[in-house]
């Protein structure tokens, strides 16, 4: 936070710079040393343990089975997130719609999927084949069928995982998008309506574009969360990153080493996502559209006016 006056003051204050003995923070030094010691001890304990073979970690890091699992994890994350965003936007718009049926449907959806554990939902989708032996796409309450398939083929583990994770995440995304929509002032929707724009156009052209910058930071968190939650799919026999690691350690019993391998990949992915999120936020923030930017601009103009 440099003030515009600072450059003028600097040369003078240089002349008689304050020479003082800084405060000694003995407490900090002691605390830091203690923690360092403990960490070192822990490190040695792990490193010296003969049962833990570090050498296996790099060996398995690029194992084809694990790389395939990693690919599945990434696919699952991206597809489930896409499903979630699609559902979430629809649910948020429904929730704010004047139509009571749409509102209630969306409310129930959010209530149900946010209120039950993802793991339960995953297992549920996986077992759906038992109660609905066939899936049929057609006109409700008629015999007209456009497409049908046995559920066990249709809901393969990966599909079940995408449905389970996507439907669950959609409920959270809906709430985030709803907050984004609400953040766009009623004044602008009134103005758009007064210009003769229809409700759908107001939503698409005025509200949603301004909700995006608001929604991106929390959505980035959800993306990172999804990458980790996708590990739950291993429970329903999806061979994603954790699943592939499990397959290997179930035979060689190198559980810890392989979990370290999986963790390294998870960390690499979440780190990449965090960096991506940072740049996306910067990119979206460029437009002066966001309220923060508006406030920033005002402060800037005020400061200029003050000098």
């Amino acid at each position: 936070m440099s003030t515009p006056d600072a450059p003028n003051l600097a040369p003078e204050s240089n002349a008689d710079r304050i020479v003082a003995v800084p405060v000694r923070h003995y407490g900090r030094w002691l605390g830091g040393a203690a923690v360092l010691l403990l960490l070192l001890d822990l490190g040695f304990a792990v490193a010296r343990n003969k049962n833990f073979k570090f050498g296996l970690v790099p060996h398995y890091l690029f194992d084809p089975v694990i790389l395939t699992g990693l690919k599945t994890t990434l696919e699952l994350t991206v597809i489930a997130m896409a499903v979630a965003i699609g559902l979430g936007v629809i649910a948020a718009v429904f929730r704010l719609s004047p139509n009571p049926v749409l509102k209630a449907t969306s409310g129930t959806y959010i209530w149900f999927f946010r209120g039950t554990p993802v793991l339960v939902q995953l297992i549920f989708w996986f077992n759906l084949g038992i109660i609905f032996p066939r899936i049929r796409l057609g006109i409700p309450f008629t015999d007209l069928t456009l497409w049908s398939a046995p559920t066990n083929d249709a809901i393969r583990p990966l599909t079940a995982a995408i449905l389970g994770l996507g439907l669950n995440e959609g409920a959270y995304v809906a709430e985030i998008v709803r907050a984004g929509i609400i953040s766009v002032g009623k004044g602008q929707t009134d103005a758009a309506a007064a210009l003769g724009m229809r409700r759908s156009a107001v939503m698409r052209r005025v509200v949603l574009p301004q909700a995006v910058p608001v929604v991106i930071p929390p959505m980035g968190n959800e993306f990172i969360g999804m990458l980790k939650y996708s590990a739950l799919a291993s429970v329903i026999a999806v061979e994603e990153l954790l699943g592939s690691v499990e397959r290997i350690y179930s035979t060689n019993l190198r559980t810890l080493e392989l979990l370290v391998v999986a963790s390294i990949w998870y960390l690499a992915c979440t780190t990449a996502l965090t960096i991506g999120q940072h740049y996306l936020e910067r990119y979206v923030g460029r437009s002066r559209a966001t309220p923060q930017a508006t406030a920033g601009w005002r402060i800037w103009t005020l400061r200029r006016a003050a000098h």
Binding site: Q188, D190, A191, A194, L195, G196, R205, R288, R298
Partner: protein, 283 residues
């Protein structure tokens, strides 16, 4: 729907009522606004001025009475003695003929000035881009902001934003303009530019309903002044009469507050000394 003079009023309000829950905000408002007329509405805070304006373009649904714009019921359709509610699309089509300017400008903050001006003409009126842009430049010239076409609203002063908002409403070529305290959110030195644009509009024959406490504007431009209080019109007449010799004691009290420098509402205007109330407002 025509009066004795043979002219169709642009706005005809007949016993218009509006409630918010149990609060009666409009309790039977009657008003005719004729083509080319500038009607100024004044009145205390909470008297229902904004609500009445918002009813005229159906941003609020009325609970009783009849409201016509250009001879057609607003929000409803009459057919064979029955009244049908209009579809959303039909309501939107009618709104497009009525321009509205808000106290808080309400520009689309993610769009440049140019896109603010071309969005509705292109989307609602299906105007080709070239024509919409040409129209936008013409209107920006009119409000003196041609060089701001590429700016975002946040980069403009309040007065500039409000002039863009007026241009945006005019881009739909409305037959009626509604202004809800267009200068109340502005710094005193910026009020003049906005009023100047509005005066120009009035001179060009635009039909306008203006809620404002700018008494100077009301006197100079207004054809009629309406005083609202507690959801009804308590006084109405030519500006000179209403502003200088009000009959209603509530009007007198209100004007005294607006016009004295100690009053909070109009105290900022630099035209103040010119417009002190003649006679004793206290009696």
């Amino acid at each position: 729907m025509t009066t004795a003079t043979g002219r169709t009023p642009v706005v005809r309000a007949h016993r218009v009522r509006k409630n918010f829950g149990r609060l009666e905000v409009l309790r039977g408002v009657d008003l005719d606004v004729f083509p080319g007329e500038v009607v100024v509405i004044i009145g205390r805070s909470g008297s229902g001025k904004s609500t009445f304006l918002r009813c005229i373009n159906h941003l609020e649904k009325i609970d009783g009475g009849l409201l016509y714009v250009n001879g057609q019921l607003i929000g409803y359709r009459e057919k064979a003695d029955r009244i049908y509610e209009l579809r959303e699309r039909e309501v939107a089509e009618k709104r497009a003929e009525i321009g509205m300017v808000f106290q808080q400008f309400n520009l689309f903050s993610h769009m440049t000035v140019m896109r603010n001006l071309t969005e509705a003409p292109m989307r609602v009126r299906r105007l080709p881009k070239a024509q919409a842009v040409e129209r936008a430049y013409r209107l920006l010239d009119r409000v003196g902001l041609r060089d701001k076409a590429a700016a975002y609203p946040a980069q403009l002063s309040g007065g500039q934003q409000q002039r863009v908002a007026i241009a945006r409403a005019l881009a739909m070529e409305p037959s009626l303009m509604l202004f809800d305290e267009p200068t109340s959110a502005l710094d005193p030195e910026l009020v003049g530019d906005v009023l100047e644009v509005m005066k120009g509009l009035a001179a060009d024959g635009m039909t306008m309903v203006v809620v404002t406490h700018e008494v100077g504007f009301a006197r100079e431009v207004g054809d009629r002044v309406i005083v609202m209080d507690e959801g009804v019109i308590i006084e109405e007449g030519v500006p000179e009469q209403v502003l200088s010799a009000p009959k209603n004691p509530t009007t007198r009290e209100f004007l005294a507050r607006v016009l004295t420098p100690t009053g909070s509402v109009g105290a900022t205007s630099d035209v103040l000394p010119e417009y002190t109330v003649k006679g004793d407002p206290g009696t």
